[in-house]
Symmetry: C2
């Protein structure tokens, strides 16, 4: 059922009441609200998993794990909130005369529009990290239902509402927009009440929302995480010793979840040599073991098959190995091979093919490998498969890689994005529209805050974060010194 | 002399070398570089002041003070940098198995384009806060010379270069673009090497640069501080007791520096009543004392006179009082009066007139005053002239004001922007293009940083900020706990 324009407008406008309510809570109280929501999500039964399984084809154990991750996001962001970290309170007491008393903290920016991802129906959707971090920041959310999993979205939305009700919060803290058309999302982004947008999905979708947000009379921050090819760079000495292990790890990561992760390692970059022959053979053997599988929905599968066909048709690209072929509605895994020179001359080779297809890039020399890395677009992750000594000897490569990504791995594989303070899930454009913010980990809260200074205010009228007695016992910079007293 | 396109391109491209250099320094070393630059600015003699005075008509004592402020910016941002605050180091050690070791810190985003302001030839220009905070962040600067004070700009640029040379840093840390045309600035903003833009000036100029930055293939952050009308809201009880004091303060702030401050209080909002009669009389007497004065340059004076004429010509606007009339090349101060209803019906009344012209808005009721506040555009500052009891009784007004500004004052006047941690010099659009960042105070550094995570790296290859032994002795969040060990 599509909502009328009036209904859409009403839901968005009502979020202002939710904003006023959230602003009236202390961080500790907001954390309490978040725990209440987390409990309701945790309490959802098998119906949720079955519904999501039916809508997304994701396996039940994976969905069970993702549900736990989602609950953990609400709880860990709430815990971070309680520390007062995100208030970033700064107090300059002045001198009672010419030098003013100036105190600053961060407050929620206003209502946030959230768009869910097809590949994470829980953790990056209705009650996902964007919603949890916006509410942690004191911002109500208006969520646009994802057409790939509407029934799942509604079960989650109901759980959020139950949590809000139990805590005593108004419904307007979380608004829900039904509708399968782009027009609903566009109406949301351009609405003057909305002050920020969070999105996880394709480059095309994310960039369109970004452009829309920037074209408003009042431009607003648009955080779009749009994926990347997450290159793995394997250096010669490491490769010589670990070709078989690397091949197994790479194919495992490439085909995990039918390759439907933002951090899926689409490129494997090496220098041609003795070791690459065994690497190629190992990759061929590993990929052969992979069965075909159902993707999230027919549209994604179609796009995958087209992307694979486009890649295979490029000059200087050959098939290295493949798994069980798909039947037209399932996806078959594959690894192609090309040269460093070909990649440098044809940007299509570095485009993301969303799904279980990888591309091995054999460079003629370390110099060419450096050039390949310098030619890369912005990435969520880059992985260096090297010995410590090799990494040490290639500090310039490390520097170049740092400029191109948000997370740099030493060995291992990039899939698996932990919900911790240290995580940066983001990266230079076009991986995201704003390299300065993460969408995973408590720091995701920072996206929805803005500072406000109070000059010469009576103590009783200041927010608790800034009162002289520090009632919340949070860390603050007072007269240039960090203090928790 | 205009630079050729080749020369412009070369200066911008060279900043990459400056970036590599800055990235190779620890925060403590970057602070040392900043102290060296500060010393060279401090050592500039009377020639600087005379040159700036000739180019901007600003009085010598004001310029002397602004020079001190500029030196202080370099030194205080350097001191803040040394604390490690801006690294925002987070360490999650993992479990040595499935749970990875993930460490994150902030690094410089890349070369930054800086555009100076006409009204602050030192503190918001060549060696101003934008340049100081970019370099503190580890980002080289390419500065576009301001056409209003090119000779001053070059003296400052030379001082920066002397500081860099003394420290042993390459010239490429600070690039300088000559040229009076917009084309030079445009070439700078669209250059792929540039990763952020800082600007202080008019709405038209700032918004044009913002749109240019967003239209790039790779959009980049554009921080434009575009000024505002900084409303002062005087409540009845306060007004009854302090009409004369408030009038003197208001006219003093309105005409300070010929009204050429971003925080100039263009609007004075009151509820019509007994006290407003004496306020009006006091304002009339105060403004009469103000002499005419020379503005920064002929273009600004012309725009001021046009703005004043436009305001005076609006329906329901009357002249309340004025100072010595200008002679066509000087600016005369004036205060106009209108009603709350007129302001609500005619947005022109709330537009900034850059210069010493104010507008008194008499509302019919507190309700109308609330409506006026809710109708305001985003502001750098809002000031509440009220007793503590009145403020307490009008919390909804305080809430509404908070949504509209970056700094909220209790009594006093908004001119005077202190360089302290607690300062937020910014505010919702159209005061700035990004309400989340300040351009004054050490936190200005945050504009030019982005996070980078390191996963499972050998300790020796990590940046000092993230090494296990914490060699920089900075505050970090380690396994969820803030620690300085």
């Amino acid at each position: 059922m599509e909502m009328s324009n009036e209904q859409i407008h009403a839901v968005i406008s009502d979020s202002l009441a939710g904003y006023s309510y959230l602003q009236s809570l202390t961080p500790t109280e907001r954390a309490g609200l978040m725990y209440a929501v987390a409990d309701e999500i945790e309490a959802l039964d098998d119906t949720l998993l079955q519904t999501a399984h039916r809508e997304t084809a994701l396996p039940l154990p994976r969905l069970q794990g993702e549900k736990g991750r989602t609950v953990n996001q609400w709880r860990s962001y709430a815990a971070a909130l309680k520390t007062g970290l995100y208030a970033e309170a700064r107090i300059d007491r002045g001198d009672g005369a010419a030098k003013a008393d100036i105190r600053k903290y961060n407050k929620g920016i206003g209502p946030v529009a959230v768009f869910g991802a097809s590949n994470f129906p829980f953790a990056f959707s209705t009650a996902g990290g964007d919603t949890a971090s916006a509410i942690a920041a004191g911002c109500p959310v208006v969520y646009k239902e994802h057409p790939g999993h509407p029934a799942t979205s509604r079960l989650m939305a109901d759980a959020i509402q139950r949590g809000l009700a139990k805590f005593g919060a108004p419904k307007t803290v979380f608004g829900y927009l039904q509708g399968s058309t782009n027009a609903v999302g566009e109406a949301l982004v351009v609405h003057p009440v909305i002050k920020a947008v969070a999105f996880t999905g394709s480059f095309r979708g994310g960039k369109a929302l970004f452009d829309l947000g920037m074209s408003r009379t009042e431009p607003i921050p648009v955080f779009a995480e749009m994926g990347s090819v997450n290159p793995v760079i394997a250096l010669p000495v490491y490769l010589q010793e670990h070709a078989a292990v690397l091949a197994a790890q790479y194919v495992g990561s490439l085909t995990l979840g039918v390759g439907q992760f933002c951090t899926n390692p689409g490129l494997l970059i090496v220098v041609k040599g003795e070791a690459t022959t065994s690497l190629k053979e190992a990759l061929r053997l590993e990929i052969q073991k992979v069965g075909d599988a159902t993707m999230l929905h027919a549209g994604i599968c179609k796009a995958y098959l087209e992307g694979k066909t486009t890649l295979a048709a490029q000059e200087h690209v050959s098939l290295l190995g493949e798994g069980a072929p798909g039947n037209g509605t399932t996806a078959g895994a594959a690894i192609y091979a090309t040269s460093g020179r070909a990649l440098l001359q044809n940007e299509v080779l570095a485009h993301e093919v969303f799904g279980p297809t990888g591309l091995l890039i054999e460079c003629d020399s370390m110099n060419e490998l450096y050039d390949v890395v310098r030619s890369l677009d912005g990435q969520l992750t880059i992985t260096l498969a090297a010995t410590a000594a090799e990494a040490q000897q290639n500090m310039a490569l490390l520097q170049a890689a740092q400029e191109k990504c948000g997370r740099l791995l030493f060995q291992g594989m990039p899939t698996g994005v932990e919900v911790v303070y240290g995580m940066h899930h983001g990266g230079p454009f076009p991986a995201t529209t704003d390299s300065r913010f993460t969408s995973v980990g408590p720091d995701a809260v920072k996206r929805f805050l803005r500072p406000l200074s109070f000059q010469n205010w009576p103590d009783a009228l200041l927010p608790a974060e800034l009162q002289e007695g520090n009632p919340l016992k949070i860390g603050r910079i007072v007269d240039n010194v960090y203090t928790v007293n």
